[in-house]
Symmetry: C2
Subunit: 286 residues, 2 copies
């Protein structure tokens, strides 16, 4: 199998490593707008060859893992060049804008809109890690718009990676990820900002970080080039999520200031349910 | 050395495990208002014997790791019973209220106010883990109010645990931890609440949790019996921290809605500095 990977960062690079498990004989061609990333990916053995634009039609699979603003520019151009049997999958964290843009593209049926729920706070080819995709959830949007055979091929790939596939329309996808993923990044970035502003002495931050700060602020290490366009593309849903979050923070602040012990305990106890919700996940091996 | 531990949860239980490294011959006596916790601690071998109130005066060290509301009740009573050479250390996450309460206690000099920056989201004796204290930062407040010899003894203990000791007055302590520790817990609890409220279908939460949510919401698993009184005792500082956090969230929301790409990138880039701040920590082995 010939696989082209466009965007050799964390997502594309890790895919290159993981796809060799079910498809050990696949040959991987890579492309990145940064020459440095391309060379690094070759040096690390993530990819076997550089991908030429003119060779896209020869690929069985083209996987596109670039920031979602570039996705809107590059995906139509890639689809313009695909062969009849080329499957194109993107990994973007927003799905409504790209699905809407490609709705009437003549090669729409060669495209599958996917969003693997996997990642770390690191970026670039050196951040690629084996097993990033294995066992994770993958969201597929508008599956019915992908050619039947190519859709089946896509499912085989995700099954090969032992991913759990769930299906959503692109609008619902963007609402759900606004809450469960994008809001986490916002909350973490703004926590980092608030603490950095207050603690002019950075020694204090790392001396005191032991007590929970480090994990809560982890996502604030994420790449702004990835996250700025995600926030902007999902602006309406994300703004609504931030408003609900702020309203909960204000409620908690009032309960604290009024020393409403009972109501405060009740809220924290109810929220503790997140433990069981996420434990089920572990139990079910999802 | 005879060590009494009052409160056999995560903090007290882990101390019982770690203190045996520098003081392998110490005999550990434990006390907990929950009979179940006491039995569990005996069963797990965290403690050697039950601690009787009447025996407190025979202890070399009494370590108190109970929720900060109980701390205000129990610490004066423990100090009433200490012998001349008994050192009493508490582990509370707030320091102003307890230091102020004990200011004029006749045994004030037997007491050392400490706050080890260590913990996990789990609680109870079964959550005790070896190495929890090793290499962490420990904040000592109002060191000058502790008897010289007992203060020296305390420093030996913390050095034995390879902790890094820093010194603060109790008011400054409560301000700093409001930002670096307590706000992290608030942000995580309210993130959990917001997501649970939105996602009526809990399957969605665990299916989508892969993308950063799980670590950001980790602290929302923490024990409300520990955290409700901490929030209340640090209410003024914490309310100010929440206000600054909310103001940053609102700023971000406006930039997103106005599609202010440049300013948004600038803020995320500036906040990325948290990576270097926390990396320095690792480099310095702190």
């Amino acid at each position: 199998m010939k696989i082209g990977i466009v965007g050799l960062g964390l997502m594309g690079g890790s895919f290159a490593l993981d796809i060799k498990i079910p498809y050990p004989k696949s040959v991987i061609y890579g492309l990145d707008m940064s020459k440095e990333n391309l060379n690094k990916a070759l040096e690390l053995g993530l990819i076997d060859h550089q991908l030429e634009y003119s060779k896209i039609s020869e690929m069985d699979l083209v996987l596109v893992g670039v920031p979602v603003n570039y996705l809107l520019e590059i995906l139509p151009k890639i689809l313009d060049r695909v062969g009849q049997k080329t499957l194109v999958i993107d990994l973007g964290s927003t799905k409504e804008a790209i699905c809407s843009l490609l709705e009437n593209h003549s090669k729409r049926s060669n495209y599958l809109a996917a969003h693997p729920m996997a990642g770390t706070e690191f970026s670039g080819p050196s951040a690629a890690q084996k097993g990033l995709y294995i066992g994770k959830t993958n969201i597929i949007c508008e599956f019915e718009k992908t050619d039947n055979k190519l859709g089946k091929f896509a499912l085989e790939i995700f099954e090969g990676l032992k991913m759990k596939t769930i299906y959503m329309d692109s609008k619902s996808h963007d609402v759900h990820v606004a809450y469960v993923s994008h809001l986490s990044h916002v909350s973490s970035f703004m926590l980092g900002k608030t603490v950095i502003e207050k603690e002019k002495n950075e020694d204090n931050i790392f001396d005191l970080a032991g007590s929970g700060f480090e994990s809560t602020v982890r996502l604030a290490k994420s790449n702004p080039k990835t996250w700025t366009p995600i926030f902007l593309q999902n602006k309406t849903n994300l703004a609504a999520a931030i408003e609900e979050y702020v309203s909960n923070l204000n409620l908690l602040k009032e309960l604290i200031l009024n020393e409403n012990d009972d109501k405060l305990s009740e809220i924290l106890n109810n929220t503790n349910r997140i433990k069981e919700i996420l434990n089920n996940k572990t139990k079910n091996g999802k």
